[in-house]
């Protein structure tokens, strides 16, 4: 049986490798993208089950990435990562179908549990 797929989108290298390590250890098949174009390519080629999406990315911003990604496949789950207090952006993202949001700096344990609850790893 194929493993569950997780795509991590963040322009910060340190955050990507951190999240990558956490979720690889959990047993997810992980992908990383540092910008919108890369993210959409991976979505089309690998159809992840869940995307962890940083909303502040130079070039194509998070809202735009979210829109295109949901246009491609509405069923992909998206958790967004924002700075604290970006209420407008969070609302906008939820209207576009994002499931939940984490304010940076978030807790690794919390995001791990949320991902596992949303996309359980079959035994």
């Amino acid at each position: 049986m194929s493993r569950k797929k997780l795509l991590i989108v963040d322009d910060q290298y340190g955050i990507r490798i951190l999240l990558n390590e956490v979720f690889q250890k959990e047993g997810y098949e992980t992908y990383q993208a540092s910008n919108g174009v890369q993210a959409l390519e991976i979505v089309e080629q690998n159809r992840p089950d869940l995307v962890l999406l940083d909303m502040k990315i130079p070039g194509m911003d998070g809202i735009e990435i979210l829109k295109r990604l949901k246009e491609f496949d509405q069923s992909i789950e998206v958790f967004i990562m924002t700075a604290y207090g970006e209420l407008d952006m969070i609302q906008q993202a939820k209207d576009l179908g994002a499931r939940t949001h984490f304010a940076k700096p978030f807790d690794i344990d919390e995001i791990r549990e949320a991902v596992k609850a949303q996309v359980p790893l079959e035994a």
């Binding site: 340190g14 951190l18 910008n35 174009v37 502040k56 070039g59 700075a83 700096p105 690794i108």
Partner: protein
């Protein structure tokens, strides 16, 4: 198109960047990666030292232009390093700033917007000699635009382009600031 920055906006962006750093520390603490935390701290200190040095050159326009650069809506990210002993560049502030603004606007427009475009500006302060070295990595779509700029902007009392190389995925431009001691 220049954005007007007020204190609240500057502090918001600055807080955002710092919280990203705190995220890295917090995340690695949670994983017990203490060595990595110490590395991150050293990286933060290094970056702050570069900004402190930049801020000490008595060139406030240049310093604020460069430090606010990444918070404007840009297609390239800028990293600064300042090497050598601090000097007083106050006499050249306006001219250097406007040259840099001009040049970086050209680069910003010439690169592929969705690529990872990164520019390192190394300000090298030697005794009586100041150089700005722009080292670009990413994707340049319109090489000719940049070349035109560099070829036509050679004449200035303060700024001399010493050397440049422009490729599609790389660029290096060395500029000398002709301070009083060098003009003699």
């Amino acid at each position: 198109m220049r954005k007007e920055w007020n204190a609240v906006e500057i502090l918001r962006h600055s807080r955002h960047d710092w919280l990203n750093k705190i995220q890295l520390i917090k995340g690695n603490m949670a994983l017990g990666r203490y060595d990595r935390v110490n590395e991150i701290i050293e990286e933060i200190i290094l970056e702050s030292k570069n900004e402190a040095k930049l801020s000490n050159l008595k060139a406030p326009n240049l310093a604020s232009f460069l430090m606010l650069f990444n918070w404007e809506d840009r297609t390239l990210s800028l990293e600064i390093e300042v090497i050598g002993d601090e000097q007083d560049l106050s006499l050249y502030d306006d001219e250097i700033t406007s040259w840099c603004r001009n040049f970086l606007n050209y680069v910003n427009q010439a690169v592929k917007p969705v690529a990872e475009n990164h520019l390192i500006l190394s300000i090298q302060l030697d005794e009586g000699e100041v150089r700005f070295i722009f080292d670009f990595n990413g994707i340049i779509e319109d090489k000719q635009e940049i070349l035109n700029f560099l070829e036509n902007e050679l004449i200035s009392p303060t700024i001399k382009i010493l050397d440049y190389e422009v490729h599609n995925d790389e660029m290096i431009v060395t500029v000398q600031i002709l301070t009083a001691s060098e003009k003699r």
